[in-house]
């Protein structure tokens, strides 16, 4: 496969829930090995876009391609078999499964063979999880749940990791740890990441490229640094340049 084929290509996608249209003609792409971030205010449609990529809801129009292959019409579980994994909004940890069971569920339907190498990878990334192995998911702290959500997503050995607001509600130190882990994953294993964030400052510093979503439409795009330097971005998302 040539390197010019995007790993993910969202092509003029319109989608929403019920009578609400959350996304209008959204187009973006993610190249292999990139970290791309999608920033925007609350309710701009960021989470809807990640879920639409996973087939829930289905796009009303437009196409979605993974490594050139059209996945638009597939049901969610079949889309996920194309090397996609998501740590979704709200983390969605299985509350009555242990940390270990949660992790194994990540590999259960999407891989065959021994999941131990992935487990080791997750423990190397988040040693905290190893200490909590037999604890129930519902009893973890917010930060640990986020680590578990990312760890569970990594268990299926994805090519593309979709992350929905991993910083939400977490202490700055934990956020730093999690963003450090994402950077490491990308640098060491070449994992491609599409990161949705409200914390534009952090996200744009981490990402190679970024898109700005405003009420369901892509308003701007560019490299992380270029977007950080734009005055509109500073005013709208970075509190006028003063660190939030």
């Amino acid at each position: 496969m040539s390197t010019s084929t995007p790993l993910l290509e969202v092509d003029r996608v319109t989608a929403g829930y019920g009578a609400v249209q959350a996304l209008t003609e959204v187009s973006l792409h993610v190249m292999p090995g990139e970290i791309v971030t999608l920033i925007g205010a609350n309710g701009a449609g960021k989470s809807t876009l990640l879920m639409t990529i996973c087939g829930d809801p289905r796009p009303r129009s437009g196409r979605i391609r993974l490594a050139g292959q059209d996945i638009t019409a597939l049901p969610t579980h079949a889309i996920m078999r194309h090397g996609l994994a998501q740590a979704p909004e709200g983390r969605r940890i299985f509350p009555r499964m242990t940390v270990r069971e949660n992790l194994l569920m990540g590999a259960e339907a999407l891989t065959s063979g021994d999941p131990t190498p992935q487990l080791e990878q997750v423990f190397a990334l988040f040693p905290r999880l190893k200490e909590r192995l037999s604890q129930r998911g519902g009893t973890l702290s917010g930060g640990e749940q986020q680590m578990l959500a990312i760890g569970r997503a990594l268990m299926s050995k994805p090519r593309l990791l979709l992350l929905d607001e991993p910083s939400l509600g977490l202490a700055p130190l934990v956020v730093k740890q999690i963003f450090g882990a994402i950077r490491r994953l990308n640098a060491e294993t070449g994992l491609t990441v599409l990161l949705v964030e409200q914390n534009a400052n952090l996200a744009l510093r981490l990402a190679h490229r970024g898109y700005v979503l405003v009420t369901g439409r892509i308003a701007m795009e560019g490299s992380g640094r270029a977007l950080l330097a734009r005055p509109e971005i500073r005013d709208a998302y970075l509190g006028g340049g003063v660190a939030a």
Binding site: T76, A85, G90, R92, F94, R96, E108, A109
Partner: protein, 304 residues
């Protein structure tokens, strides 16, 4: 003492039947959050399929011995499972994502459909079946009163325990069981992990229906009379059992079934046979008022 022991035996074997049906209610509730009000009628279908299987085997002169009973049981499980699958496919799946009451209303409709279908195709009259398993073991004797542990009751208890053991292994040890538990805890996340949630839900109905078929077959063997309406009362009592045990909890459903069976039996023996159903339904009302999460149910507290 002897009298009480006899009631205990009767209560447990009746409770096993309720427990088997209750598991179907609680499984479906756990996975898609609906009460399948047609489940009692699925149990009734199971009893009818078993009866037809018995009559066919008798016609062929082969209704003899444990192997024949096993064959009847398996036939009933297979055919009833197909009913469960069809029910979900036709009446519930199209309504998924609709408002919460929609599948519930559909379930009540399916209950009426199944009853009328059997009433018309099999006739409204009570169907008797002469006992296939006779006799029993004398457990103890107290003057003229003999405590009997009949072979049918042993069969019911033995078969139920075996079926529940297989079922427990299925839920705890197999990929299907893990998929079911994942779907039960978070359907959307299960799909994101590559689990075919529609298939898992279908199989839940299939398993629930085949457990109800076991209950229907056992009911037929024990009581020897069935009609198109038996599903209503048995269904409501098994539902009571599921609520008492904690709806959504599998061990709770079995425990609830046993308790309802025992309460009903002892109530009939010591107070009034006429009011035995009142006893069961009072339990339902009391549970809902004072113990809404049931005995083994969990409080819905989840960290956000």
């Amino acid at each position: 003492m002897a009298y009480a022991l006899q009631q205990l035996i009767n209560g447990i074997s009746l409770g096993m039947i309720y427990g088997l049906i209750a598991v179907g209610y609680t499984m479906v509730y756990g996975i898609i959050g609906m009460i399948n009000f047609a489940h009692g009628d699925v149990f009734m279908i199971g009893a009818f399929v078993a009866l037809i299987a018995v009559l066919l085997l008798q016609l062929g002169g082969a209704m003899d011995g444990p192997a024949a009973i096993l064959l009847v049981l398996l036939a009933s499980m297979a055919v009833t499972a197909l009913y469960g699958w069809t029910l979900e496919r036709l009446a519930y799946r199209p309504l998924r994502g609709s408002f919460r009451l929609a599948p519930l209303i559909s379930a009540i409709g399916m209950s009426i459909v199944l009853q009328n279908y059997v009433q018309i195709s099999q006739g409204a009259r009570v169907k008797p079946l002469e006992p296939l398993v006779r006799g029993g073991v004398e457990v103890m004797r107290d003057g003229p009163f003999v405590v009997q542990f009949s072979y049918v009751q042993m069969l019911i208890i033995g078969v139920t325990l075996a079926v529940l053991a297989v079922f427990t292994l299925l839920v705890t040890r197999t990929p299907l069981g893990r998929a079911m538990r994942a779907c039960e805890q978070d359907l959307k996340m299960a799909a994101l992990l590559g689990i075919d949630t529609n298939r898992t839900i279908s199989l839940t109905f299939v398993i629930g229906a085949s457990l109800a078929a076991v209950a229907g077959t056992m009911y037929l063997l024990r009581y020897g009379v069935i009609d198109f309406y038996i599903g209503f009362l048995a269904g409501v009592k098994a539902f009571t059992a599921a609520v008492l045990g904690g709806i959504g909890s599998l061990p709770g459903a079995v425990l609830g079934g046993l308790l309802i069976g025992l309460i009903e039996t002892f109530w009939s023996a010591y107070f009034s046979v006429q009011y035995k159903d009142v006893a069961a339904f009072s339990i339902l009302a009391l549970t809902l008022i004072f113990l809404p999460t049931g005995l083994l149910g969990r409080q819905e507290v989840e960290k956000v």
